[in-house]
Symmetry: C2
Subunit: 391 residues, 2 copies
C-alpha cells in the first residue's frame, strides 16, 4: 500500500430480495420530477418496470422516460438524454437496468446543463464539472451484475461516428449514484450469455487492478478473495441461475470489484479494457465479451513482465501447487485454469466471433489508448499483435 | 450472502504519509470551536500534537482540550468529555490517538446534549439518538492501527464501578467520523507491545465476523484476504516497525476489518470480544491483549461446532495441506498455526498474565454477555470453563 489516496464512497446500497423498498424510502429526499432511464424494454416483460412505476406513483413523482438505452450508449443518445433531463427539469435520474443505463444516467447527469458538447468535454478532453456546475442526482435499480457502475463515478460512452468507446472516471463525488438497489432476484431473468458476460466483466475488473505493482498490498489480497468468490459463485449460477446465494455473491462482488476499494494505493493496468473498448467501437459487441475475447492473448503477452504476480495468481486464486515447477510453468498453469473457467462460462474467446475481421486491425489498433500503469507499456506494434492473436 | 442489509459508510479517509494535509482541507467545513481529544500525552512527545495544533491555528480554530483519555475510557471520563464539549460549544470533536480516543469522541458526540445519564442510555439500554438530537461531528487523526474505530459508528465505554465494559455500534450514520487521517508513519513510535495488541485486535475482528454462518459468502473470501494480509505484514512490521509498506497495509486492513463491509449479509460471532471485555473490566488490560488471552481457549471450544469453517480457515488462511487428513486434524493444524503466529507477536496468551485470578472467574462470567450469532450459543458454564481454561 505504497501510494497515497483519498477514499470516500458516498453511495448508499440497499441489498436483498426486498431491497426495492429502499427506493420508496429514498424518494422523499428528492424533488417531484424523475427522469426514468431504461434499455430495450426487458424490465417491462419481467415486471420490474411496473413495480418501480408503482413506487414512483405512490411517492407522487412526475415521471419522464428515456428508454432504448443501448448496450453501448452513444454520444447521440447522450444528447437526447441530456435534453430530456433539462426539459423535464429532472430532480433525480433513476436508472433501471445494468451498467449501460447507469453509466448513461451519470453521463446525462453532468451533461444536462453543460453548454458545451458533452462528448468532447467529458470523453475527449476529460474535463471535470466545476463546483458551480449543476449535476443532477442519479440513483440506480440494478438488473445485471458486472460493471460496478452502481457504486462508482465512471461512465463509458461510445461515439459511433468516430469509432471511439471511451470511459471517464469522474473525480467529482456528486457523480456517484446517491443510492442503488441491489436485488439479486432482478438478475434471474437475464439470458445466460448476458450473465456470463457480466461475470467475466467483474472478474476482469479485478484483474485490471491486480496485475500491476510489485509491492505487498492489502488491495491484492482483497482482490484474490473477490476472484475466488466469483469463481465459486459463477460455477453454481451457471448451473442454476436462480440460486440466490450465488447470484447475490456475484452482485455484491461486482460492486466491490469496481468501486475504487481494490485499486487504492497501487498502480493499475486497464489495458484489457482499452483493447476491448476498441473492439467494441468496431463491433458494437457486449462489453464483457469484448474483454474476454482479448484477455488470454493479452495476459499471455503480459505474463513474462509480471511473472511474480502471475505466479501468485496461479497459487492463490487457482490453487496451483508450486512444488518442483518453474515460476513460468506455475504462471502458465494459472492462466490455463483461467481459460478453462472462461470456456465453461461460454464467453467469447476471440474477437472474430464478435464480428471483428483482419481489415479492422489497423483501425482497432489506432482506437486503443495505451495506458502506463501496468507491467509493460505496450508499443503500437504490440497492441496490433495482441489484437491479431485475438482474431 | 443470504442476508439483506443496507450499506452506507460516509467516512472520508485521507491515507498516506502526507495525509495530515487532509485535516487542513476539511477544517473550513466546520465551525470555529474544536474539542481536541487525546490520551496520555505521547502525541506531545512524538510531535503530532504540535503539527495538529499548528493546522488548527492556521485555520483560526478556538481549541478546548480533553486529555488523559485512558486505554479503556470510563463512564466518568465520558461525563467530563460531554461537559467540556457542551460548555465549549464544540463544532467538531477531533480525536488524535488510537481507538480509545476515537471511541471516546463518538460517545462524547452523542452525550454532550443528552439530558439523561449517557452510560445508562447508550451502553445499558442501547438507545439510539433521535433524529432531532444534536450530535457533534467527529473526526480522527489516527496514531494506532487496530480498532477500526476511525471508520465505524461504534464506541466501547467501561463503567469501573459496575465492572462492565460495553460496546455500542450506533445505527445513526451521524456517529461515523466525518473524516479520518490515516498516516502510517504516525504509528512508528508506538511501543512494540501496543503494535502487537493492535495487530491481534484487527485479526480478531476478522475472526469474529468469519467464524459464523454456513453459507458461501463473498464476505468470507474478503475476510480470508484481509487475514492473509495481516499475517504477511505483521511479520515484516515486527522485525522492522518503520517498514512503511507493512505499517500502511496494517492500518488499511484494520480499517476494513471493522467498518461493516466483511460482516455484511452474514451472521457474526463476537464472543471473543464479550469474553475479552469482561476480562478488561476486571483487569483494565489493553483491549487487544484481553482478546488474544481468551482466543485459543475459545476457538478450540468452538471448533467442533463450526468444523467446516475451521477447516476452510486452515487451508485458505494458513495454507494447511489437507491431503490424507481428517477435517478435525486440518482444523486443529490451522489453529496451531494461528497460535504460533500469535506467540511470535508476543501478545498475551492467557488472562493470568493480565492480572486475572481464579477468584475473579465468577464475576467475569457474570460480566460476559452471551451473543447468539455464532456456531454455538454458550451456556454460562461454558463461559466459565473457557475463562478458566484461559487462566
Amino acid at each position: 500500500m505504497l501510494g497515497a489516496f483519498t477514499y470516500h464512497n458516498p453511495t448508499k446500497l440497499y441489498v436483498g430480495s426486498d431491497s426495492l423498498e429502499g427506493l420508496a424510502r429514498e424518494l422523499p429526499h428528492y424533488g417531484k420530477k424523475v427522469l426514468l432511464v431504461y434499455g430495450g424494454g426487458s424490465i417491462k416483460k419481467n415486471g420490474i418496470y411496473d413495480r418501480v412505476m408503482e413506487i414512483l406513483k405512490r411517492a407522487e413523482k412526475e415521471v419522464t422516460e428515456v428508454s432504448g438505452v443501448m448496450p453501448n450508449p452513444t454520444s447521440d443518445k447522450l444528447l437526447e438524454g441530456a435534453r430530456a433531463a433539462r426539459e423535464s427539469e429532472a430532480d433525480l435520474i433513476l436508472a433501471v437496468g445494468g451498467g449501460s443505463c447507469c453509466d448513461f444516467s451519470k453521463a446525462v447527469a453532468v451533461s444536462a446543463y453543460c453548454h458545451d458538447d458533452p462528448w468532447e468535454k467529458f470523453f475527449i478532453r476529460f474535463e471535470e464539472p466545476k463546483a458551480e456546475d449543476r449535476i443532477i442526482p442519479v440513483a440506480c435499480v440494478l438488473t445485471m451484475a458486472g460493471t460496478g457502475s452502481e457504486m462508482n463515478a465512471g461512465a463509458v460512452i461510445t461515439n459511433p461516428h468516430k469509432k471511439l468507446k471511451i470511459g471517464h472516471v469522474f473525480s467529482d463525488e456528486r457523480v456517484f449514484p446517491k443510492f442503488s438497489i441491489l436485488n439479486p432476484t432482478f438478475t434471474y431473468t437475464l439470458p445466460k450469455r448476458q450473465m456470463a458476460a457480466g461475470i467475466y466483466d467483474m472478474f476482469n475488473h479485478i484483474c485490471e487492478q491486480y496485475f500491476s505493482g510489485h509491492d505487498d498490498n492489502t488491495s491484492d489480497y482483497l482482490s484474490e478473495g473477490l476472484m475466488r468468490s466469483v469463481i465459486a459463485s459463477s460455477t453454481v449460477a451457471m448451473k442454476n441461475p436462480e440460486n440466490y446465494e450465488a447470484r447475490s455473491n456475484l452482485m455484491w462482488t461486482a460492486t466491490w470489484a469496481l468501486n475504487t476499494l481494490i485499486g487504492e494505493g497501487k498502480t493499475q493496468d486497464w489495458m484489457v479494457h482499452m483493447l476491448g473498448q476498441a473492439v467494441g467501437a468496431y463491433t458494437n459487441a457486449t462489453h464483457g465479451m469484448t474483454l474476454s475475447a482479448v484477455s488470454m492473448a493479452y495476459y499471455r503477452f503480459l505474463m513474462p513482465y509480471g511473472l511474480a504476480k502471475f505466479k501468485r495468481f496461479a497459487i492463490n486464486v487457482w490453487g496451483v501447487l508450486p512444488d518442483g515447477k518453474t515460476d513460468a510453468a506455475i504462471a502458465r498453469e494459472g492462466l490455463a485454469d483461467m481459460e478453462t473457467w472462461m470456456r465453461s462460462l461460454g464467453v467469447a474467446m476471440n474477437i472474430s466471433e464478435l464480428g471483428a475481421t483482419a481489415d479492422m486491425l489497423e483501425g482497432m489498433t489506432d482506437a486503443t489508448f495505451i495506458l502506463k500503469g501496468g507491467y509493460k507499456v505496450m508499443t503500437r506494434e504490440e497492441v496490433r499483435e495482441v489484437l491479431r492473436a485475438s482474431l
